[in-house]
Symmetry: C2
Subunit: 354 residues, 2 copies
């Protein structure tokens, strides 16, 4: 389908109005919209506004509580065990970060588990926020069953991403953000939406055979990256985000798309490090920037024009989309229009002419 482009603020406003129309308090709806649109701004369209439809459907089906409070189950000097109250992941994750910041400033670092949550989108907003506070953020989340342990073929783990962002003096944070699968599940969903095949090596079907059919892959299992290494990392993410948080673990996590009869109960894990606890922030910046410069100046393999550092490509995309408008697929626009019609909210988000 065609791709249209929209101005960031107008799109945020529209998404916030739709969320508020489904019962999300206005302030929370604005937080939520900012995170969603920020993913699209950074080119991570699989985790942005394209997910709004399912979030709203799940609120509509009373599977997400739009007014959930974030409550503290347990706290120590620098840790919080949080209960998201089955609220929207983006809102509860932002509130968790705001609770962690003063603890990390006081003791040098702080961590939170967050149980009873949902899919919380892309890292870019959280990473940029932590970086603006001169903090390093490490983040993990479990998710709906997608990958098997090495040697198995039942969907057990989510694609269990591990992420970390580091502030730099380069105008963007280093953003490490990777699913522990060979490929993010969002890419398979995108292929399915397009009716396109997926490359071999990405997934197994329900019988444990390799498949290039996106629909079969979504019913089967995604392969872990680098075999047993991805399995080990997925388990690490599952234990921090799931076992330690008190959320559902592995196959007990609900599917956002398939299980329209129960909540997801996703678990997240955040760890925030105050850079100044380890060395002077200016010295840190010099060291990180020098590392980036040296990586980019390294000898290139044949055919390689430029060596990128993680986060660089998405930061460039954010500049392009910030100037030229944020692209949305025709399908996502149609979903927005349907929700506008239902909630009697004007689709007040004109296309940007590039």
């Amino acid at each position: 389908m065609a791709v249209n482009r929209y101005a960031k603020e107008r799109l945020e406003s529209l998404v916030a109005h739709l969320a508020a129309g489904m019962g999300v308090p206005a302030n929370d709806a604005a937080l939520f919209a900012e995170v969603l649109v920020d993913a699209d701004l950074h080119g991570v369209s699989t985790h942005g506004v394209s997910r709004l439809n399912i979030y709203l459907q799940r609120i509509d089906a009373r599977l997400i509580d739009p007014q959930a409070a974030l409550t503290i189950d347990r706290r120590t000097g620098s840790t919080l065990a949080l209960d998201a109250g089955n609220g929207l992941g983006q809102i509860q994750a932002r509130k968790a970060l705001d609770l962690l910041l003063p603890l990390a400033r006081q003791n040098g670092l702080a961590a939170a588990t967050i149980r009873n949550s949902q899919h919380f989108g892309a890292l870019s907003w959280y990473g940029n926020y932590a970086a603006s506070q001169k903090m390093v953020l490490m983040a993990m989340t479990n998710g709906e069953p997608a990958m098997s342990p090495e040697g198995g073929f039942e969907a057990f783990f989510g694609t269990n991403p591990i992420a970390a962002s580091f502030p730099t003096g380069k105008g963007f944070p280093v953003k490490i953000d990777l699913a522990t699968s060979t490929v993010a599940r969002g890419n398979i969903i995108a292929a399915q939406k397009k009716g396109a095949p997926i490359p071999g090596g990405w997934a197994l079907d329900r019988q444990g055979n390799p498949t290039t059919d996106a629909s079969e892959a979504l019913l089967g299992t995604v392969l872990t990256m680098a075999g047993h290494k991805g399995y080990a990392l997925a388990l690490m993410v599952e234990l921090f985000s799931g076992a330690l948080s008190g959320s559902a673990v592995g196959p007990d996590v609900g599917s956002m798309y398939k299980n329209m009869n129960r909540k997801q109960d996703v678990g997240h894990f955040f760890c925030l490090f105050d850079i100044a606890a380890f060395l002077d922030y200016d010295e840190y910046l010099r060291r990180v920037d020098a590392t980036i410069d040296r990586i980019k100046a390294a000898k290139k393999r044949p055919g390689v024009e430029e060596i990128l550092v993680p986060g660089e490509r998405s930061a460039r995309q954010a500049r392009i989309n910030g100037a030229g408008g944020i692209p949305l697929s025709g399908e996502t626009v149609a979903e927005l229009e349907r929700w506008c019609a239902r909630l009697k909210i004007p689709f007040d988000c004109p296309e940007v002419v590039c």
Copy 2:
């Protein structure tokens, strides 16, 4: 060469005597020997007693300070920026863990950077120790240049492992411990020692071409696991262990084997989480054990007899080696004999008859 088997306590005693013979204080030598032999006990012979020879050579060449103190550069309520004083990594890492434990008990978690250190061996001892204290340990270290960033072919990163261990009720901790390379550099060193070729896909030669020659691979670069994902994780490890610690970063880290004219200046990163800060320890154990049981009961791919959890294989190996003796290669035994002769220490470590 032949493999001989030795009793754990006798081997520890011998290693400790040799280290003490080179100037390591007796208590520290015992700590050091315990970590080294523990790696062999768990089947990680690439990171155990086979490394003693080079550590002692480097002490002999005044490239490692056998009597270094561990000093605190900076501290906050739950963080320590430590200077290993160019001492042995195993000793300083153990002392760092002991400094972190009370901080983690007090505030729920604690982290340390350790600069000016060396190769610190395998995770197994540190992970078991943290688990015995009902803590989760996350550990990272940079290392001598071995891998290029994705798209490059100069050795830049070490094989930058990321590790985490989680206590269980199963008699062994879950032990996630993986180099972010396609393969641990130790395996290439082992192939080189045997004169064996390495599989394709492991490494590039000095010109950036794929190679199956172990010696060429050690002069060239090891490939990151899963391409850009391994690159991203290697950078995360480098920024935590190197940039944040104040140690050497990337290509500035000295090679243990090749640079017999300068120190390594390796950096480590430890983060210790007190499980009881997040949920009751007994509940945690139930949740982790149930996760393990469920993984092991998952449907198996054709030809797979058993699904293992990370740490299970090495725990079994430790039981076998604990009962039947710890295997050392003939080459490692010959190195031990040479050091015994030089230091006039009897090779008082009879072979175990299995």
